[in-house]
């Protein structure tokens, strides 16, 4: 987990020490990075030059350094940690099966996966029901 904003590392320290540590014992257990110039945010497409801040961009990056998922929100709406964890579990399953299994809409651990191949063409309706999306 890496957090990034345009604030300096000094301000990160103040925020961690004076506010975050009151929400999480000992403060958040990951590095908070400083991107004052917005250089990193620009390359990731989340830097808002007019406001001088970075949008709520979230990237899931696999062990090979490949981006598997992107979510970008404007500032007033927060993220959903459960959905983040669900997506990581789904990408980890796909990676573990070397793409042999895929996770359909609404998948979460315990729900059926799909095994793409010639036999599945036109047969998804037999193994996946709309209820599984929810």
């Amino acid at each position: 987990m890496l957090a990034v904003s345009v604030d300096s590392h000094f301000v990160h320290k103040m925020w961690q020490d004076y506010e975050l540590s009151k929400m999480v014992d000992g403060g958040v257990p990951f590095p908070i990075l400083s991107d004052g110039s917005g250089n990193i945010g620009k390359v990731y497409g989340v830097y808002d030059a007019d406001a001088g801040v970075e949008m709520r961009g979230r990237f899931i990056i696999d062990p090979d350094g490949v981006i598997q998922a992107i979510e970008v929100l404007t500032p007033p709406v927060g993220r959903n940690v459960n959905e983040l964890i669900r997506q990581i579990k789904a990408f980890q399953l796909v990676r573990k099966t070397k793409g042999g299994e895929a996770t359909p809409s609404g998948w979460e651990p315990g729900k059926p996966t799909l095994k793409p191949g010639p036999d599945l063409v036109g047969k998804v309706w037999e193994v996946w029901k709309v209820d599984n999306a929810f």
């Binding site: 890496l2 957090a3 904003s5 590392h9 990160h12 590095p31 991107d35 390359v43 979230r58 350094g65």
Partner: protein, 84 residues
């Protein structure tokens, strides 16, 4: 985290390595912009970067490439002390 010498300056993060650049003769500037904007996309390598960081009472330098071999969640947010 790698060591970060703490001075009075305000160092910032930066990408590592030159951005991918296509050198087509026609519309070269436009091509470069398109490549830059498309630098981060699903299925592509995450652009590497290095930035000053704070963790566990210490300042340091963190690179994305430090985490090769691990799953990484990279979260940008609007600012410290903002409300959400």
């Amino acid at each position: 985290m790698k060591e970060l010498k703490v001075g009075c300056g305000k160092p910032t993060g930066a990408t590592v390595g030159a951005p991918a650049e296509q050198t087509k003769e026609k519309d070269q500037v436009l091509e470069k912009e398109v490549v830059d904007m498309a630098a981060a996309r699903v299925g592509a390598k995450a652009p590497d970067f290095e930035a000053p960081a704070y963790q566990g009472g210490n300042f340091g330098q963190v690179s994305l490439s430090d985490y090769l071999g691990k799953w990484v969640v990279l979260c940008f947010y609007p600012g410290d002390f903002t409300f959400v």
